[in-house]
Symmetry: C2
Subunit: 481 residues, 2 copies
């Protein structure tokens, strides 16, 4: 074994870079190469291992940043002088390298930044896609929690598909939308997020492509990407996704599914009319393409009831329907659902079992109490009134302070106004200036690179005063740009 | 484009099989090949596409089973005669093929079977690794739920690491074990299951190898495997994992981590003594290998307090510590924790955000109420007394009915007795016979292929009467084998 010269294996999943890193790392941490040991020069090492010199340069950079080797420009690279002390001082595991090469990729930095900023209560949130705490039905929720607590007998292992009475009440609730389904075809998830993640892991091929609205919700985009799915945009007009573009996909070999938010689309607020829904569904059926229908904003219509979901228009095999109580009731409850045929639901439940061993039972009991009678529907009527006031107020503020220098469509529900800042050249700049003044918006550029003159403003979270302040400052900064 | 002859691309993640399947499927569903269209003969098709004939045979088999083509032996393969009706009848999406080729693999069938059987209340559960409902602290849980409900103000978006006061109380709780940590280094998870899954996805390289106790807990094995991690066993003696075997891993290039359950190991019940813990930890540190310490049974000691965890013996960088309330309090609460350095926890929290957008808040409030004072510790004292009675009873039954034909070690805590049925040749046979009589055990063979004469018996779930009946029948069936 000692006489054999090691070279990286080219017939494996592992990159050459990773293999060489581990090989060199091993020589050092096993003590084979002691402190101060002079490494073979880069050029020679590259020859010996039969790789590009640039690969060696990169690996040595990683070893250097993890503290195992040292060397100034021009002098030889050596194993770190105090390597033994270094290794015994708890620096043994090289997490940087591990994180960089792990199965799941890190979230894009802007996603992390925005997520942290959205938790900052000192910032005016024109960004957060969530109902303000003033909407929260505190007294009903307390009453329901009391009721659930009083009847608590045991919190044991449950069906991974979720609490059966909850699935029954979701089925009844979905019937109001025209979806005919049964508890067997429903999986309770931790919000819609988990539904999308389970679909990605359990039904899609690695490296295949999901087609989705452009612009599109950044977290759902990320849900697919982190699982190793490629994304391609489908253009939208004022009615949503354009059917002709889906028709063109028939020659695209790696197509896996269509993903769309047809009701109160995030970020544009667009509602797909029934005829468009029909065309999109037809296009998918023709190509045997699953359609992932993300319908989390459905219950939040303001002006008129949302058109029936595409799920209600098909035979039950092609549409994967994702819904949730996170937008309409409470994101902290973590209750959502995925509806599909039984085979698909069993598959997703099997993966859910692997990922989290099923959802917590108490929140499911609470969601059941909300959905079983008229509680939830009555609550929604109140929410709609309040949302309408906020939307109208934000529209009024926009008209007052941005009339003439920006344009927008009136959303008929949901949380967002998608504002075109006609002459804005860099919405990222504007975002930073507003942040500097304590106001958070979503720049359009994070939804789609070429939306550099759009912002997404949410009217669901900030108070009226904050909405006003936000728009006043937005107008000021816009004029300064 | 039309003139070009399509051939599969060999420089992609997608298998040749998948590519050809999709290519042929597309010809049919786009109507290019209409109903009754005669396909090119297998041999010729294989030549044209430059692949083995067996590949074509397999692809055609898949197309046949999905209803797109038909053909009797000896006659030509044709596109299904009623293909148009078939495609409009909701048979458009081929879920079989998609599930087979998706990113995550399906659970092994026996895992699904056992999981379903464990939910069957008509079966005597000598299998379920869970406290019986008689242990459930119903009145305290009701009281706590009432308290939490009364003080409920808002259930909004939270820090993905989990509810801060809960993380503080977990940190305090871990101090009892000798682990010094802070809320920043703790991630609240949906049981230990999710912790393991996040570690696999967020810190391990695809195709790398985790080394673990042999035999080992089947669900945790699966948590790694479904994410694409390889497993290799490390032999155990009566003190647990053998350090020398880890020493030997230094030449194993793909090593990613060690995984162990050092306290009341599942399935053997072994407790690693402090000196062994020290050696294992040293071996890991020397090789810069992360050690995943799964400590979910820690609180369930019966005879004497569990030795300090390995996490308490290191500098804070190498041990990934996984704990939970699922075994000791309630699996349905879905509260667990992962403890590591801040960098690692932030990485895992980022993935948790992608997977489920954070844990439900109510169960976290409830767990906080349990852990913040002496509630949980007082409860544990009660549990230990009851567990001791059950363990002793099962030991007595074993002695009475299996004395001389089986052997076992007395477990000093946890849920299991790992019984060696000295002369049993096929424990799988025994498992089936017992199941036939309404009794569920875990055959040793599901933990490790060569444990064909072991069974794992759980004393935590079945009633005393059921324990007795179970052992009587086990003895009967064993003698019949």
């Amino acid at each position: 074994m000692v006489c054999e010269i090691w070279t990286p294996n080219r017939n494996t999943d592992k990159s050459i870079h990773q293999q060489i890193f581990h090989y060199l790392e091993d020589r050092i941490i096993t003590g084979e190469w002691p402190a101060g040991y002079k490494l073979t020069p880069q050029r020679k090492l590259a020859e010996e291992l039969n790789v590009h010199r640039s690969t060696i340069v990169n690996v040595l950079e990683d070893l250097k940043s993890s503290g195992l080797i040292e060397g100034q420009k021009g002098s030889a690279t050596r194993v770190t002088t105090n390597i033994n002390a270094f290794l015994t001082n708890g620096n043994r595991v090289n997490w940087d390298f591990r994180i960089k090469n792990a199965i799941y990729k890190e979230s894009p930095p802007f996603l992390k930044t925005i997520n942290n900023l959205e938790l900052d209560s000192n910032i005016i949130q024109l960004s957060r896609a969530e109902l303000a705490d003033g909407f929260f039905p505190k007294y009903q929720m307390r009453e329901i929690t009391r009721l659930v607590g009083e009847n608590l007998n045991y919190l044991g292992k449950e069906d991974p598909k979720g609490y059966f009475p909850l699935r029954e009440s979701i089925a009844r609730h979905l019937k109001n939308y025209g979806i005919n389904t049964s508890p067997d075809c429903i999986l309770v998830t931790s919000g819609a997020t988990q539904g999308l993640q389970l679909i990605a892991l359990g039904l899609l091929e690695k490296g295949s492509t999901v087609f989705l609205d452009t612009p599109s919700y950044l977290y759902s985009r990320h849900a697919f990407q982190s699982a190793g799915i490629n994304l391609r945009g489908v253009s939208m007009d004022e009615k949503g996704m354009i059917p002709f573009e889906i028709c063109n996909l028939r020659n695209y070999q790696n197509r896996a599914a269509i993903y769309s938010i047809p009701s109160f689309h995030n970020p544009t607020g667009i509602v797909m009319p029934p005829s468009r829904r029909n065309s999109i569904l037809e296009m998918c059926l023709k190509q045997r393409l699953p359609l992932i229908e993300d319908d989390v904003y459905r219950d939040l219509w303001i002006d008129e009831p949302t058109p029936p979901p595409m799920k209600s228009m098909e035979g039950g095999n092609s549409v994967l329907y994702v819904g949730s109580l996170s937008k309409s009731l409470s994101p902290g409850l973590r209750i959502g659902w995925t509806v599909a045929n039984k085979q698909v639901i069993e598959r997703l439940a099997d993966i859910k079992l692997q990922l989290d061993n099923g959802s917590s039972i108490l929140p499911q009991h609470i969601a059941y109490e909300w959905l079983k009678g008229q509680f939830y529907n009555e609550y929604l009527m109140e929410i709609r009134k309040k949302l309408r006031v906020r939307r109208d107020f934000l529209l009024y503020m926009l008209e007052k302070h941005l009339g003439g220098i920006a344009s927008w469509k009136v959303p008929t529900g949901g949380f967002f106004i998608w504002v075109n800042l006609n002459k804005c050249k860099s919405v990222h700049h504007l975002y930073l200036r507003l942040l500097n003044r304590g106001i958070l918006i979503h720049p359009g550029s994070i939804y789609n690179e070429d939306r550099h003159n759009y912002v997404r403003l949410s009217f669901s979270y900030a108070s009226m005063e904050e909405l006003e302040e936000g728009i006043v400052v937005l107008a000021e900064e816009l004029l300064k740009l």
